[in-house]
Symmetry: C2
Subunit: 428 residues, 2 copies
């Protein structure tokens, strides 16, 4: 049986699990791959650092390039732009295949690295980069290759889903839940990349690139995080039978592809609405397949390592068969739409004076700006406040520009006490 | 650009959609596959039959063998054992690759046909055979190839899920809902294959074979249908926060692999519990990935055609790259367990006399037979009946034999008026 040398770059949470699996499950992996997968070394910055898993000391090295030079497959789990980018480039240039979970790098340099892999007859695989253990990239590129995907909506960041789910369950404010998530290890000390949507935006770019056969990068993604979502927003959504989720959305519209990340209202009956805690899920709509959903653990050492190992075995099988890399079709060039070119449905929540004529004045302003109202509900009269009512309006699809102008105009009305929240709606 | 000849056998519900996609989406498919996919002909029994889709008359033929002789890819959608088996064999023997959704054939002759494909350097693909449009076979064989699957539980028959879901929603009896499903076209005039679990059993054999790298066939699957599930069972389940689903279960136990289909109680919070109507879903547990779920349309012309086309494009890509068929590892030989070797958790519902000492007498009988009680709930005293109480018992894992003996003994007690239902429980 052939032996393939597997070099591991990085030995954090995921890397330690990958090393463990390569060592513990060697015979099972050989049976699956048709070759022995030999862990030839683990490149780290600090050999003495404490790891999650006990690993033979002689595997560790600080010389990543020397390790790569001798490898058939390189697993990159350093994260971040550099030195990950430089090391992946070196591996691909030498003809080694690469497995990575590095969404930040792929969202910026994915197309370039893909071309480098192709030019060298190497494979670049990154199932772990989006939604951890959930097989989603392969179903999109392979299983749905004979269909036409129209929309992808994903809960692809576990930290923000944990926070929003806890806000929904407990009624707590964002800041309090974030602090709890940090204490539990669900959120980083610096939570910016998660809560401001940057991590989800990188994944959105990757999903869009695969679903629509066009290279999109981070700059094509409109991104809003969840730090401005209030307990009142969550409560109002719950009251209307909805839930707020941070979604990564990539959608084919007539003029091009819209890629965006923002807090989104979903009806409770939508399959994504029942994704709780730190779980991830990706909902896919295709012309023939209809609606599909893929659900599972989006992060964590062992789950992410499962995706890394699936890619590693796939590469090994190809090397054993001595088969060329099989291309997944020509790349297209559909334009990425600017956010103001996209029309979405909006939910606007207003606190208004409880007097006659208010509804008609507000409705008139919407009509003036060309924003069509789908649903209007007046409720929860609050007498403590000199008499105010809550108005909730769901619009038909409208552009960001028209909506913003409408909300600004409505906010200036003397009968409007407060614009409580403006959120986008999907799946209704 | 290369042209590949695609022969279609059968032009029913799915076949007509496959033909439509091949004709309508030809340029998109060519971009994905790297080759033109030319529909070279459609073999049918009756050329004059009415089809769902308007198709050029000159494509039709009654000579399937002549069509196959000239094809690069053969799509078999005749269903059933023959002539499907003979035609697939002929195609593979000639070196053509085959795409099929024929679960009945694969569950009996899958290993043999797989070997025939391998011997001829051809591919046999059948994503459509299990759970229609849902990519499930590829994730199991490829994405999870570096992990160890421990259990697969699927709602893989839309008809029975529609019926059980309607019983749960409306409280109606099985026979009434079945009649309604037949009127709506969700159930066949002869519903036996669906309601008695035979269709799900074929899919269970296929799932088990892929998940556990061993050839299992229909004879290895213990199969019970849903015709004995009563409105009272459904109501009692609902009352206990559970729902009854027909599950195809394949599980790795210490002694071997257990493959079974039967009505199963699931807690409402289990992801499979919220799969409604005719939708399908497959829940997978793997050592590293943890819990995954794949959800979507399990049947229907266009959804099933999407899976057929995904397989067709995969085959085309390989032919374009002139790559050998890549093997998915060695097959093992884990034994299939007989049903009486498997331990499951049971729910037993009893109507008993409302008098003191009943509980302890029943509990003593369970203990005598070595069946451990996890939960016992006494409720709904019915005074119309000379005083009776409802007892619900959930057991720890117990063998079928021990449980059957216990239930028989309990049923003979003078204080037990009726054994209302005995159902297996998962996910609790």
């Amino acid at each position: 049986m052939k032996t393939l040398k597997v070099a591991l770059l990085g030995c954090g949470n995921v890397g330690a699990q990958v090393a463990r699996i390569l060592l513990e499950d060697a015979s099972e992996l050989a049976a699956r791959a048709g070759a022995k997968l030999e862990l030839s070394g683990i490149a780290v910055r600090n050999i003495e650092a404490k790891r999650d898993v006990e690993l033979p000391r002689e595997l560790f090295t600080t010389d990543a390039l020397a390790l790569i030079a001798d490898a058939d497959v390189v697993i990159e789990l350093l994260g971040g732009m550099e030195p990950a980018g430089e090391l992946i480039s070196a591996a691909l240039a030498s003809g080694a295949s690469v497995v990575t979970g590095n969404k930040a790098l792929l969202a910026v340099r994915g197309a370039e690295l893909g071309a480098l892999a192709a030019a060298n007859g190497a494979q670049l695989r990154y199932e772990a980069a989006v939604a951890g253990a959930i097989p989603i990239l392969r179903p999109i590129t392979d299983s749905l290759s004979g269909d036409r995907i129209t929309k992808v909506m994903g809960i692809v960041n576990g930290t923000t889903n944990f926070i929003l789910d806890a806000m929904d369950t407990t009624g707590a404010q964002f800041a309090d839940v974030l602090a709890e998530a940090q204490a539990l290890g669900y959120a980083e000390a610096d939570p910016t990349a998660d809560v401001e949507g940057h991590d989800a935006a990188a994944k959105a770019a990757i999903l869009a690139s695969l679903a629509f056969h066009t290279d999109f990068d981070l700059a094509d993604v409109h991104c809003e995080g969840i730090s401005s979502v209030s307990a009142a927003d969550v409560a109002a959504a719950a009251d209307a039978g909805m839930v707020i989720k941070l979604l990564a959305i990539a959608e084919r519209l007539e003029a091009g592809i819209a890629v965006r990340v923002h807090p989104t209202l979903l009806p409770r009956k939508h399959p994504l609405a029942s994704v709780h805690g730190a779980y991830n899920a990706v909902f896919v709509e295709a012309e023939n397949a209809g609606e599909l959903m893929f659900y599972g653990a989006g992060a964590g050492g062992a789950p992410t390592a499962s995706a890394i190992m699936g890619d590693t075995v796939a590469i090994a099988r190809r090397l054993v068969a001595d088969a060329p890399v099989i291309a997944s079709g020509v790349r297209g060039s559909q334009p990425a739409l600017r956010f103001d070119q996209i029309a979405t449905s909006y939910w606007i929540s207003l606190r208004v004076a409880d007097e006659s004529g208010v509804l008609s004045r507000i409705a008139a302003l919407f009509a003036e700006h060309g924003v069509s109202i789908e649903l209007l509900r007046q409720s929860v009269v609050d007498s403590a406040d000199g008499g105010s009512a809550l108005l909730r309006i769901v619009t038909h699809k409208s552009t960001e520009a028209a909506l913003a102008a409408t909300v600004a105009a409505v906010g200036k009305l003397d009968v409007v006490k407060e614009v409580t929240s403006v959120l986008r709606v999907e799946g209704n």
